[in-house]
C-alpha cells in the first residue's frame, strides 16, 4: 500500500475541471516530482490533495484511507503537510512563532521537533527571534519548510520550492529536500527546474492538460527522448 495514492482524480475550482484523471502513488521513501507545462494542473494536484479545492471524481487515499475533500486541520494531524508557493510564511511573526504555528495541531511537546528543524536549518536558529518578513527569500523558504515539518509529517508537499531563488539557493533547497527525505519524510513536489529536480526524484510525473503523460523514475524520464523533447526543452 502506497502512502499516498491518487486514482483518476478529477478536480477544479467549480467550472470546468482542471484535473482530468490524475494517477499517482508515493511511498514514504519517495521523492516525487511533478513537472509539466504551465496550466497542466501541477499545483492544482497538490491543492486537490490538500482539500483546498473540490475533488469531484476519482479517489485520494492516504495510508489506505480516503481523504478526498478533507480540510487541512484534519489532514495535518494525519501526517500530511503543504508548503504553498507564495506567501508561505507569517511575515509579521518571528521565525520561532512560525514554527509553532506549524505545530498548532499537536498537543504534545514539540520542542524536540523544533530542535530537529533548527539542526536542519542552522540559520533559522540564529534568527529565531527575528520577524520572518526581515529574512531573505531563501531563508523564508527554509522557514516555510520548517513550519511544514513541525507537524512531523509522513508526506511533505512542496509547491515550487525553488521559485524566485538564486541558483545557489536552489541547490541548497534541493539538498535540504533530499536530506528531509533521508530522515524518513516522503516528498511530493511541483518543480519548474524540471531537469534538476528529476535528477534526484525517485518518482517523476509529467502532467499535461490535467492528465499524466509520462510516469517513471526521475532518471527514466530524463532519459526518455520524448519527455526530453516535449517537456524538458530538448
Amino acid at each position: 500500500m502506497a502512502l499516498l495514492e491518487l486514482k483518476h482524480v478529477v478536480a477544479g475550482y467549480g467550472g470546468a475541471p482542471i484535473l482530468n484523471g490524475v494517477n499517482m502513488a508515493i511511498d514514504q521513501s519517495d521523492i516525487g516530482v511533478i513537472v509539466g507545462p504551465n496550466g497542466a494542473g501541477k499545483s492544482t494536484t497538490l491543492k486537490a490533495i490538500f482539500g483546498l479545492l473540490k475533488v469531484t471524481g476519482g479517489t485520494v487515499e492516504f495510508l489506505g484511507e480516503s481523504i478526498a475533500n478533507s480540510l487541512p486541520d484534519k489532514l495535518v494531524p494525519k501526517g500530511l503537510s503543504f508548503v504553498p508557493q507564495e506567501k508561505n510564511v507569517f511575515t509579521s511573526m518571528t521565525v520561532e512563532e512560525n514554527l509553532e504555528m506549524g505545530a498548532f495541531t499537536r498537543r504534545d511537546d514539540f520542542s524536540e521537533t523544533m530542535q530537529w528543524v533548527y539542526e536542519m536549518f542552522p540559520v533559522l536558529a540564529e534568527k529565531r527571534r527575528q520577524p520572518t518578513g526581515e529574512l531573505s527569500g531563501g531563508q523564508r523558504q527554509m522557514v516555510a519548510m520548517g513550519r511544514a515539518l513541525m507537524s512531523k509529517p509522513k508526506l511533505l508537499m512542496l509547491d515550487e520550492p525553488s521559485a524566485g531563488l538564486s541558483p545557489r539557493y536552489v541547490i541548497e533547497i534541493f539538498e535540504t529536500i533530499v536530506r528531509v527525505n533521508q530522515e524518513g519524510v516522503g516528498v511530493l513536489m511541483v518543480e519548474q527546474n524540471a531537469r534538476q529536480a528529476l535528477a534526484f526524484a525517485s518518482k517523476g510525473f509529467v502532467l499535461a492538460q490535467g492528465q499524466n503523460r509520462f510516469t517513471g523514475t526521475g532518471a527514466e524520464l530524463i532519459a526518455d527522448p520524448e519527455v526530453a523533447k516535449s517537456f524538458l526543452g530538448g
Partner: protein, 334 residues
C-alpha cells in the same frame, strides 16, 4: 501651579479616561477586522449592550443587598463580560456566519453590521426605553481630591473612583491581551490568521475556533469599554453609538488589524479631543494682568467648541492617512 493642576484635571485625566474607552473599543474592531476582514459597525452596540448587562447585574446585586467597597459596576464586570462574549458569539452565528458561508464580500458584512446596530439598539429601547440610567442611583461616586497645597496649588487634583478604576482596569486588560497574543497558542493563532489566513488554514489552524475566540475577546473588551463609559457618564441606549466614529478613527489611525496600534490610536484621539476642547483662558488668565485692555483674553479660548469635539477624530484621521496611509503601526491599507 494651580493652572497646571487644572490642566491635568481637564486634559490628562479626562483624556486618559476617554482614551481608555476608545482603546478598548478600537482593539475589538481591529481584531475583528484582522480576522474577518470587515469593519464591524455594530461594535458600538456590543459596548452599549455590555453596559446594560452590567447595569442589570448591578441592579440585581443591589437588590440582594450586596454592598461592595468599589462601585458595583466594576464588581459585576467579569460576569457582564462573559454575557457579552456569549452575545457576540450569538450575533456572529446568527448574522455574520451565514453570510461568510455564502462568500459575502466585506461590504455586505459591513451593511449587515449596520443592520445589527439598529436591531440591538431597538431591542434595548424596547426593554429600557429611551431614558438614561445611572449606576450611582443608590451608590455614591467617590471623588478623590488630592490636596496639592504643598506645591503651591489652590486647586486639588480631582479624580473620581470610577475614573481611577477605569485606568487601572484598562492597563491590566491591555497587558493581559498582550500576553494572550504573544504567549498563548490561540493568541498566536489569531495573529497568524490576521497575517495570512490561507497559510493559517494550510498549517492546520482551526480557523473556526480562532473566529470564536476573536468574538469572545472583542465582546468582552467591548463590554468593559461600554460599562466604563456608562460609569463615567450615564447609561442610555445610544451610549456608544455616539462615539463609534472616534473609535473607528482610533482603529484606522493605529493601523487596521494592529492591536497595539488601536490602543495607541485610542489614547491619541482621547487626549487630542480633551486637549482640543480645553479652555486655555483658564490657564492663561494671569496674563490678563499684563495684557492691555483691548487684548484681554475671551472667556473661552479653546481650539474647537465642545459641540465639535467629534471633528477632532476626523482631523487626526485625515492627517495620519495623508502622512502614513497604513496607520501608525502599518496595518492593512484597505
Amino acid at each position: 501651579m494651580t493652572e497646571l493642576v487644572f490642566f491635568i484635571n481637564q486634559v490628562v485625566i479626562s483624556g486618559a479616561v476617554l482614551g481608555c474607552i476608545y482603546a478598548l473599543g478600537a482593539v475589538g474592531i481591529t481584531l475583528i477586522f484582522g480576522i474577518l476582514r470587515f469593519a464591524h459597525f455594530a461594535h458600538s452596540e456590543l459596548m452599549t449592550s455590555g453596559a446594560f448587562f452590567a447595569f442589570m447585574l448591578a441592579a440585581l446585586f443591589a437588590s440582594w443587598g450586596i454592598v461592595t467597597p468599589i462601585p458595583l459596576g466594576f464588581v459585576v464586570l467579569p460576569l457582564a463580560m462573559v454575557m457579552s462574549a456569549i452575545f457576540a458569539l450569538g450575533i456572529d452565528k446568527g448574522f455574520y456566519a451565514p453570510l461568510r458561508k455564502r462568500g459575502a464580500k466585506p461590504v455586505i458584512l459591513l451593511i449587515a453590521s449596520i443592520g445589527v446596530t439598529l436591531m440591538v439598539q431597538g431591542l434595548i429601547r424596547l426593554f429600557f426605553g429611551a431614558g438614561s440610567y445611572s449606576f450611582f442611583e443608590n451608590e455614591t461616586k467617590d471623588i478623590f481630591r488630592i490636596d496639592l497645597a504643598f506645591l503651591g496649588s489652590t486647586r486639588p487634583l480631582v479624580i473620581t473612583e470610577p475614573q481611577l478604576l477605569m485606568i487601572i482596569v484598562t492597563v491590566v486588560s491591555v497587558l493581559a491581551l498582550h500576553f494572550f497574543l504573544t504567549r498563548s497558542r490561540l493568541g498566536k493563532a489569531m495573529r497568524a490568521m490576521a497575517d495570512n489566513p490561507d497559510l493559517a488554514q494550510v498549517s492546520g489552524i482551526n480557523t473556526a475556533l480562532v473566529v470564536r475566540v476573536t468574538w469572545i475577546v472583542a465582546g468582552a473588551l467591548a463590554c468593559m469599554a461600554g460599562t466604563m463609559l456608562a460609569l463615567d457618564v450615564t447609561l442610555k441606549p445610544d451610549l456608544a453609538f455616539n462615539i463609534i466614529i472616534p473609535i473607528f478613527a482610533a482603529a484606522i489611525v493605529g493601523g487596521l488589524g494592529q492591536a497595539y496600534g488601536a490602543i495607541a490610536g485610542g489614547l491619541l484621539i482621547g487626549f487630542a479631543e480633551s486637549l482640543a476642547v480645553f479652555n486655555w483662558t483658564m490657564v492663561l488668565r494671569p496674563l490678563n494682568a499684563v495684557l492691555p485692555e483691548f487684548a484681554q483674553l475671551p472667556a473661552t479660548l479653546s481650539l474647537v467648541p465642545t459641540e465639535y469635539k467629534l471633528t477632532v477624530a476626523f482631523v487626526i484621521l485625515v492627517v495620519v492617512l495623508l502622512v502614513r496611509p497604513t496607520g501608525i503601526f502599518k496595518g492593512a491599507s484597505s
